[in-house]
């Protein structure tokens, strides 16, 4: 894939293209951005450009063909073993990176924030002054967890969220976009918040049904009574990834209620429920909407601290009921 084929990352692509053209390829890059916005795609494309004989990712020359088949000797990938990148992996890298080559030797390090402290520190000297044909590309979705000493040695290329049009464009190249009603497609694009990865996740039918179910419950809550609410909270099982998505749906819902309340309708996420939102927003005073949204965020944090899902849900739903105007 050529850099010019990458959609929606103008600044990153322009920087890299310019660098290739002017021969100003840095020895270390750090690609930073949300999941699913094209960091790895861009990194692989950059590798392809550098390895190509004509530096254009022509797809024809022996180098490009080798790269496509995944056996070009000038490219190595380092990935975490699910939790971390260990010092041994970096030691291994250093041994191999010592050899001086005539061609580029490019290392792609995925999830660079998962390097252990030891691994990251032992990488510093090499990262600052590697051999003359060596390029490191570090990829991360969490710049905060990268050591400042690593960060300061790299050119940090920030990847932005994709615009709605870009998501639409990429999505239509990956799935049959006409198979769904336009409303649904727009909703998915809006909810993906600029991440093609997220959009593809949302494309699954179960997700949309899940969302419908959640919103129905949220609409019903004001008319429910204590025992019913506790019964409802039992419907969640200890599956944290599901619960996290559910909580974010709830957060967006209450944020929308808030927006409706202050007449910022233009910016609500759940466009397909506008009537329900405006009806429901009258039942809540602004202060309790404030409390509930803060509480949902707090619960998302608690979820990551391994609090039991049913406790979280029970408490949250009861508070949502409590916030309704008497």
């Amino acid at each position: 894939m050529r850099l010019s084929d990458i959609i929606g990352q103008e600044v990153a692509v322009k920087t890299l293209e310019h660098s290739i053209k002017k021969g100003k390829i840095s020895h270390a890059y750090l690609f930073d951005g949300e999941n699913g916005v094209g960091k790895e795609t861009t990194a692989l494309s950059l590798v392809n450009h550098l390895l190509c004989e004509s530096k254009s990712a022509c797809g024809q020359c022996p180098d490009c063909l080798k790269f496509e088949r995944g056996n070009h000797p000038g490219f190595r990938l380092i990935d975490s073993d699910s939790t971390s990148i260990k010092i041994d992996q970096i030691r291994d890298l250093k041994e191999k990176a010592q050899f001086i080559n005539d061609h580029y030797m490019i290392w792609l390090i995925k999830d660079a924030h998962k390097m252990t402290l030891q691994a990251a520190n032992s990488f510093l000297k090499l990262l600052e002054e590697p051999g003359r044909m060596t390029v490191f590309i570090l990829v991360t979705n969490n710049l905060r967890q990268i050591l400042p000493t690593i960060r300061s040695r790299c050119q940090v290329i920030s990847f932005s969220r994709l615009s709605d049009e870009s998501v639409h464009q990429i999505l239509s190249s990956k799935v049959d976009i006409d198979s769904r009603p336009e409303n649904t497609v727009n909703l998915i694009i809006k909810m993906s918040r600029g991440s093609i990865g997220k959009a593809l996740e949302l494309w699954d039918i179960p997700f949309l049904e899940r969302r419908k179910w959640i919103i129905e419950q949220l609409i019903n809550i004001p008319s429910m009574r204590g025992p019913e609410i506790l019964g409802l909270s039992q419907k969640w099982i200890e599956d944290r990834s599901v619960v996290e998505t559910d909580l974010e749906l709830m957060l967006q819902w209450y944020r929308d209620l808030w927006c409706t309340k202050i007449d910022a309708n233009e910016w609500i996420f759940n466009m397909d429920y506008q009537n329900e939102l405006s009806g429901l927003s009258k039942k809540y005073p602004l202060a309790s909407l404030e409390q509930i949204t803060t509480l949902i965020m707090e619960m998302i944090v608690q979820l990551q601290r391994n609090v039991r899902v049913r406790f979280i849900m029970g408490y949250l739903l009861l508070q949502m009921r409590k916030g309704v105007l008497a």
Binding site: G23, I25, H27, L124, R144, Q155, R161, I262, W267
Partner: protein, 553 residues
């Protein structure tokens, strides 16, 4: 071949090129020139402040053929080899990779051999904080008493992790972050040499975001030049993914005006543009912090929050920054933080002030009207609400002479109250006058002709109003004042003993002394008056009165 980035190309190669860190450069130069070479140094400081660079320069200074000297030649084999990193006697070790006891044992073996072809054997151990405790301990003996002609230089970003036993064996140098100014100047120098002319403002943004690290600054500059041939403020903002300053000010103005829909639009606009909202919040915090230190920066954009509210906003944003770490959709926490803040924004935007001003003016007119009405009603109705601070309520039924008397009786108490309420100026002016009449709820205060200035002053709105207010409050009915010039006032004051009575009551002594000194009150009214006035103003007692030239006041 990869391009040699700016920060590698422009690594200082002589002491003269080094920017900043003067306290360290000077010490190291002196030690080379005087030959006082210690065997162990520790360079500690944040990333990109010149630790490795100075370690290499020091090694050159030690080993240069013409050395040891701070002014090394850069031409001899030793200097060249050190620059290239191929010297056999300057050994640069990566402490983070060779961190175990085995590596240190090996190092101890090597240390025993004399330098190959230069004066000193220099061990530069970078990232030394990553050595294991065992490795540190294995190093202790060697570090304390190394063989002759061995110099250790440790460099670290994290000196807290180094055991005290190591620290106490080293000369420690703490490297400071570079100031924005130092970075800007150095960037200017490097870029000029590179043939690039940066545009105004661009370097400052780079310097601010480099956070004191020269390598960071040069790295960002490099990246900007890769993105665009011209170095402008916009290019820098775009490459760094930060919101331009105008967005920050617009955002704060919207917050000040409580414009919720516009704030949400701002946030979502930034979000969709792919700006990092955590960075945006960070910039907001930095801007507000400056606003506390230099209030002018906020006033320039029309925001007049007091520092307490600014702190509150900063706390809210800091909290929001924390929440953003956990929530995928970072725009929601920021939106909520802002919506919460809106409810507590003080009503002080310029628009708001104008609105309030007109309101106050309207109310003043109304109050004046009301006062007039109230006065006439009071006269008829005869009911005065009892007030707690009332000195002496005037009985509205009583005729004007009585009212005047009540006021006169309490005149000096009233002045004292003014003083206590910090209305010192009006009090001082009023001391020159005396109440002479009361008609239509208006107290007439007479000033002697010599005291025209005091009369004029008290007639000014800013003095008159508080006085009227205090009067009304203290005598329990609406009282306006009118001032006249009248020299008769002296007789009046004599006529009514109230003033003297007051003084006599509270200040018994002076009266006695006065009598003792044989001065009859009334025989020389003017003189007496001056003494009384002096007593009133300064207090104390009169021991003797010497008469000076007349008219001297």
């Amino acid at each position: 071949m990869t391009y040699l980035s700016l920060y590698r190309r422009w690594r200082s190669q002589s002491f003269a090129e080094v920017v900043g860190q003067n306290h360290i450069v000077q010490t190291l130069k002196n030690s080379l020139d005087t030959g006082r070479i210690t065997h162990a140094y520790l360079f500690a400081g944040p990333r990109g402040t010149g630790k490795t660079t100075l370690a290499r320069l020091y090694a050159k200074g030690l080993n240069c053929v013409n050395g040891p000297s701070s002014d090394f030649c850069q031409e001899c084999t030793e200097c060249v080899q050190i620059t290239q990193g191929s010297s056999l006697d300057v050994i640069e070790i990566d402490g983070a990779s060779n961190r175990g006891i085995d590596e240190i044992r090996e190092l101890r073996e090597q240390v025993r051999y004399a330098p190959v072809n230069s004066r000193y054997k220099v061990y530069i151990i970078d990232e030394v904080h990553m050595l294991t405790p065992d490795a540190f301990n294995a190093l202790l003996k060697t570090l304390e008493e190394p063989p002759e002609r061995v110099v250790f230089i440790f460099a670290t970003t994290d000196p807290q992790k180094i055991p005290a036993t190591i620290l106490s064996r080293c000369q420690r140098y703490d490297f400071k972050r570079f100031s924005v100014e130092e970075i800007t100047n150095h960037l200017q120098y490097v870029l000029t040499k590179e043939g690039v002319t940066p545009e105004a403002g661009a370097l400052e943004i780079i310097a601010e975001h480099a956070d004191g690290g020269m390598r960071d600054a040069l790295g960002i500059a490099d990246q900007c030049l890769a993105y665009s041939d011209r170095l402008t403020a916009d290019v820098v903002s775009e490459v760094l993914g930060v919101a331009p300053r105008s967005k920050i000010t617009a955002f704060l103005q919207a917050l000040d005006q409580k414009d919720a829909p516009r704030l949400i639009e701002h946030i979502n606009g930034l979000y969709i543009d792919g700006k990092d909202l955590t960075l945006f919040v960070h910039d907001l915090l930095r801007f507000l912090r400056n606003g506390i230190v230099y209030p002018q920066t906020l006033q320039d954009i029309g925001i007049t929050w007091d520092s307490q509210f600014i702190l509150r906003v900063m706390e809210a944003f800091a909290e929001c920054e924390r929440e953003m770490r956990y929530i995928n959709d970072t725009s929601v926490p920021l939106e909520l933080a802002v919506l919460k803040l809106i409810q507590s924004v003080p009503e002080t935007s310029t628009l708001e002030i104008e609105r309030l001003e007109t309101k106050i003016n309207e109310m003043e007119v109304k109050v004046a009207q009301l006062l007039k009405d109230a006065a006439s009603i009071h006269d008829k109705k005869h009911d005065v609400p009892a007030q707690s601070e009332v000195l002496a309520a005037i009985n509205p039924s009583s005729d004007e002479q009585e009212k005047l008397k009540t006021i006169r009786d309490n005149w000096y108490n009233f002045l004292q109250t003014l003083h206590d309420e910090r209305l010192v100026q009006p009090e001082a002016f009023l001391r020159e006058g005396y109440p002479v009449g009361f008609e239509n709820n208006t107290l007439i205060i007479a000033f002697p002709s010599k005291r025209g200035f005091h009369k004029a002053s008290i007639e000014q709105e800013k003095h008159r109003q508080p006085v009227e207010h205090a009067l009304s409050k203290m005598f329990g009915c609406e009282i306006l004042i009118r001032c006249i010039i009248s020299d008769e006032f002296q007789y009046e004051s004599e006529e009514s003993p109230a003033a003297d009575q007051e003084t006599a009551d509270s200040k018994d002594e002076p009266m006695q002394t006065k009598n003792e000194s044989g001065l009859e009150s009334g025989s020389e009214p003017e003189y007496d008056e001056a003494v009384n006035a002096a007593l009133r103003i300064f207090g104390g007692k009169i021991i003797d009165i010497k008469k000076d030239e007349k008219g001297g006041s």
